[in-house]
Amino acid sequence: MQFFLEVLIGGLLSGVMYSFVALGFVLIYKASGVFNFAQGAMVFFAALTFVGILELGVPFWLALVLAFGAMVILGIATERIVLRPLVNQPPIALFMATIGLTFFVEGLAQAMWGASVRGLDLGIQDEPIEWILQATDIGVSKFDLFAAGVAAVLVTALALFFQYTRIGRALRAVADDHQAALSIGIPLQTIWRIVWAVAGFVALVAGLIWGARNGVSFSLTFTALKALPVLILGGFTSVPGAIVGGLIIGSTEKLAEVYLGSYVGGGLDSWFPYVMALAFLLVRPEGLFGEKHIDRV
């Protein structure tokens, strides 16, 4: 039981990390209907930029601000160069464009900062918390808990931002109905820029946390792929869905690897989340919290 709990908690907490990436997808999909495949590349770009700036001897906070600035520039440039000319194209064209963007951003990041694997130290150790370990004999990583805390803060901040600010209201209006939002004078392109910048910020946070965990390297982009089953599980349009989906995927993935992996020779986690999400979609085709799709002829 104790072992089960430990695996479960570890899985839940690592699921939080998937949620970070999924969150960026959701923000952009909600506001612009673009399935942004480049979110993983943006995570990689953000982490690499941050580490690269840090290596130049810039203090931590300034590096954070500079990396955020780079993400904002990237977001605005994407809106201007990629999205604006593709307005009114079918969603698949936009999706393909973001795959092209993925290649471009990955190349750009490595051309700027080199392709070597780098460590990133946020000053929080990846070790079990003493008093929980003593009291219950369950190891809970300090770092994972920190990541979960950051996620909670981030989601709360985003929720407040969406709920109470003028821009947030405009964002929700655009997410609801592009044309209605346009007709009451909400500038769509400004909104898109803001959304991409916010998604860039989420990518930066995700990049920092993933980077501190696994090192900043090209493999970050593959980890980001894990956000896709999280996304379809939670629904493309739901911020809470991204979090809950992440928790479900993270925990079941770990449990499956530990309890089933030995029977089939391991490596289960490469596909298990997808198959689970697929099985889940058969019951609820729009995900847990996604908007129900109504077909009209």
Partner: protein
């Protein structure tokens, strides 16, 4: 002036239904086939045949398959490489385990095995649509590659799932030289392309397109959705499966499951996007573009920038140019190279008196 249909009357149903209704098109395709079957094997160097042309044809076949599924039936799939893997490994096993199995039959059986797997992973498409489906097909991609790696029976207990394709022998003739391999692949792919062209202009193809444009409306006018979608998955996977078998037998010789990774799936998707979604010639044009572009970039980077840039930056620059070109193409011509070709033909029909 030369490309004009004036004076060509369709006097019979057969004439009305032929694939290329304009005589100049028929002549053009004949010339193209003659060049491909006779001139190319005589003139092309071994490097071109082995490295580029066979690869181009194999990918064209896979792109045809994906184009049927995505371009005609409207089901976005990110798992085409996995179906290629199924085709390759199934053909290998049929050849290995059944004595005297003819090569072409093994290819067809490999394709059919891929079709079965395709139907299985196509089942969710009855409930799931759009991007949800695209992500769901990733399940096929990762699961199949994992399964082929883990279950060593598929690769006859070789380490890490590597298979080495048997020699290609048909009626006692061994296809070993690049020219022979090229001609074999060309014949298979031409036959499949002809089949695809005929399929998409028959009632099957029209049903696919109706489902693509609006599946609820298609259902209302009496098209069986399940039947149509699953058929699209089966046919598409069959093409990908045969392409996979050709990839293993004629192009690489030795393959491992990891070779059929997500990158390959994306590559095939790029081919149909750049070539033209929902067109048969687009599959070939896109495949040529995607196969040639990296080679072209390599040459440019090596010749022009070799002295200026360090190699690590040069390879990343290549990545950036590749991504940038894809975005550029989508912006400039979202319907792909096939559409450009079509526009050129429209213009030619009126030239030199456009009014």
């Amino acid at each position: 002036m030369l490309y004009r249909e004036a004076g060509q009357f369709k006097a019979s149903y057969a004439a009305d239904q032929q694939i290329f209704p304009i005589r100049q098109d028929r002549i053009g395709i004949m010339i193209l086939l003659v060049i491909a079957f006779i001139a190319v094997p005589m003139l092309a160097s071994e490097y071109w045949l082995k490295g580029i042309l066979i690869q181009f044809l194999v990918f064209s076949c896979a792109a045809l398959g994906l184009n049927i599924l995505t371009g005609y039936a409207g089901q976005l799939s990110l798992g085409s490489a996995a179906f290629m893997a199924v085709g390759a490994f199934a053909s290998y096993n049929f050849m290995l385990r059944i004595d005297g199995m003819p090569l072409l039959v093994a290819f067809v059986l490999g394709g059919l095995a891929a079709a079965l797997v395709g139907i299985l992973f196509g089942l969710p498409s009855l409930r799931i649509k759009g991007f949800y489906l695209a992500v769901a097909t990733l399940a096929a991609q990762f699961f199949i590659v994992w399964l082929l790696t883990k279950v060593s029976w598929f690769s006859n207990d070789s380490s890490s799932g590597v298979i080495t394709a048997q020699d290609m022998v048909i009626f006692g003739y061994k296809f070993a030289s690049p020219e022979a391999k090229y001609l074999l692949v060309l014949s298979v792919v031409s036959a499949l392309a002809l089949m695809a062209k005929n399929m998409v202009r028959s009632s099957v193809g029209r049903a696919w397109m109706a489902v693509r444009d609006m599946d609820v409306a298609a259902e209302v006018i009496g098209i069986r959705i399940m039947h149509t979608k699953l058929l699209a998955f089966a046919v598409s996977s069959f093409y990908c499966g045969v392409a996979g078998a050709l990839y293993a037998y004629a192009y690489l010789g030795t393959v491992e499951p990891e070779g059929f990774n997500l990158d390959l799936s994306f590559k095939i998707l790029f081919m149909i996007i750049i070539g033209g979604v929902g067109s048969i010639s687009g599959a070939f044009l896109g495949s040529a573009f995607i196969v040639l572009l990296p080679i072209f970039l390599d040459v440019i980077v090596q010749d022009v920038f070799a002295g200026i840039l360090p190699p690590s930056i040069a390879s990343n620059l290549q990545l950036m140019v590749f991504g940038g070109l894809i975005i550029f193409f989508l912006i400039v011509e979202p319907h792909g190279l096939a559409r450009l070709w079509q526009i050129a033909k429209e213009k030619l029909r009126l030239w030199p008196f456009p009014h």
